[in-house]
Symmetry: C2
Subunit: 348 residues, 2 copies
């Protein structure tokens, strides 16, 4: 297979194009991807000329305008159909264009742009955004310190069908990014018993017991999220979004409280100074921004949504993940897994 | 008004009757409550005789059997209709029996026992379990370091009606326990905009804007839970249960990671030793078990569900909260608030 071609939305980021272009430049030298940077050619070239990159592996695709990070995504896409994000999505949908899309732009706009440019895989009713969350237990042969949680906010209300698809798609993704041959998949619920939860969750549970190629461990509870009992945690986008943002809030709160303690006593200050190494390690586990981006799963093309506050390394990591998913034919694998499981299901 | 009479389920606790009886004995000396301890008279008397208590404020009501903490609640209540929990609930429903119920027993069984013995308040379709969660910001004139979250697991799937009732009931409870005259009430959602969230949440949002006597601040996100942006957080029991258990899991995980750091380096060990005071303070904020129990709201009688692992002080606190709620006529206030808001609502 030739180099996977990754379309990168150069303009979507909290920090402007410089960060994205620098990350892409690094990726051109250190990954197997060919990168097509989509956006304002002058702005892109200005940054690119100043940094080390592999000119055979990176090119510029002009696009006019940007989707602002705080815009209403539907209105913004309508107002700027040729902005960098929708242009990059269209590029990734074309034969000879690109194989996957990476953006650090607006999440809602990324999902809408993909929905307009890509096709949903057969049997997928709703797409899912998967996020990595830090956990105490490690996962897979690479001992990754994170689990996958989906849906993180693409689909607020789900049917049992959707939860089953999310489970299969999440497992396929974990196989690629964590090299985990049989990831442990769980449904997030308000109790471990199979009949606990929403009616959709209970029905999905019944069906996942028969799903092939995944290790379905049943329901897990909130307490299992930070522990890391499962490799792939499946839930609706409403609960997933609240869960993720709560994790983010708790990291901030713990740091705030530590800072307050730091100010208040000399012994505490000395203690914190001695503990620096430990706190840094804790922060590394907690800071999931370092683990590339969140894939949007369910389309015939992959989109990796990097964090809006990504630094160049995070952008490079997101491009690397996209490259690996294309090389390992993630979407084809998801398709197969979906059609096998539909075929396997007991009637009723 | 005479002393509020509190029926206490003496047998329901992870640690057996001794802890509950000791807590009740302390409450008889330090609160305004008259306590009726329900359970095995011999077991209760054995503990009571050995501890300091006010004999004019405490009495024993015989009951046969216990609802086990790990039982299926429906089956257990059917098998033991005269166990301490259902007997105490019936006592609290009778004129001349008791005004409220306190139990540290099985949460699901407590809700079912209340549903069998009590009546739902007019306009309440579903009851809610409210829990206190530690927050960074402080709340009300007493500067309480916790917010109220409901429903914590009584009602898995809600209608907009239920969310509106939960908001009014939670605000009434916060007024009593936190002496907070106008608590800030929020809906938990996947975005702050009024149209974000489930259809039920969006409809509840529309109606709460017009509710009288509460300060409805709109939607909050997961990140606001540990921050403490709202005094009362309203959500369905599925999301509420996951949120609460996740908070519990995170406390445990942080302590585990700190212990691991403690073992690994001499400097870290010294640092942790110097930081002890700060960590204790953090743990106090995080350890919500100290704040009495979780009220079951929506019935004509109040039930305070104390944690199964409660110590005597937690039981005493739960009895004190029940006493205060009776003295300040919490259920009457909730009734009024519900009927006013129903009257106020715009058509459509």
């Amino acid at each position: 297979m030739a180099h996977p071609v990754i379309a990168v939305d150069a303009m979507g980021s909290d920090h402007g194009p410089a960060v994205v272009v620098r990350g892409a430049a690094e990726a051109s030298r250190t990954t197997g991807a060919h990168i097509r940077l989509v956006g304002d050619p002058t702005a892109i070239a200005r940054v690119l000329d100043a940094v080390s990159h592999d000119p055979d592996r990176i090119s510029i695709e002009p696009a006019a305008g940007t989707i602002p990070m705080d815009a209403d995504p539907q209105a913004a896409l309508k107002a700027a159909p040729d902005a960098s994000l929708p242009t990059a999505a269209r590029l990734a949908s074309q034969q000879g264009g690109a194989d996957a899309l990476v953006t650090a732009g607006h999440t809602g706009a990324a999902i809408l742009a993909c929905a307009a440019a890509f096709r949903r895989l057969p049997g997928v009713r709703r797409t899912a955004l998967a996020a990595v969350i830090p956990t105490e237990q490690r996962h897979g042969p690479k001992q990754d310190p994170f689990a996958l949680l989906l849906d993180a906010g693409a689909t607020v209300r789900v049917e049992s069908d959707d939860l089953v698809s999310f489970a299969l798609m999440g497992a396929a993704y974990a196989r690629v990014v964590s090299a985990n041959p049989v990831p442990k998949v769980a449904l997030l619920s308000n109790g471990t018993e199979p009949l606990k939860g929403t009616p959709e969750g209970v029905e999905a549970h019944r069906r996942l017991v028969h799903a092939k190629g995944i290790d379905f461990i049943g329901n897990i509870e909130g307490v299992d999220i930070p522990r890391g009992t499962a490799d792939v945690i499946v839930t609706d986008g409403f609960t997933g979004n609240i869960t993720l943002k709560m994790l983010e809030g708790i990291s901030e709160t713990v740091l705030d409280l530590a800072r307050a303690a730091h100010r208040s006593r000399l012994t505490w200050r000395l203690g914190l100074w001695l503990l620096q190494g430990g706190i840094r390690r804790l922060k590394e586990v907690t800071d999931w921004k370092q683990y590339g981006g969140a894939p949007i799963l369910g389309f015939d093309r992959l989109c990796i949504k990097a964090h809006g506050r990504s630094n160049p390394t995070a952008i490079r990591n997101a491009i690397r993940v996209a490259e690996r998913c294309v090389a390992q034919q993630l979407t084809e694998r998801i398709s197969e897994s979906l059609s096998q499981t539909r075929g396997m299901e007991p009637a009723g």
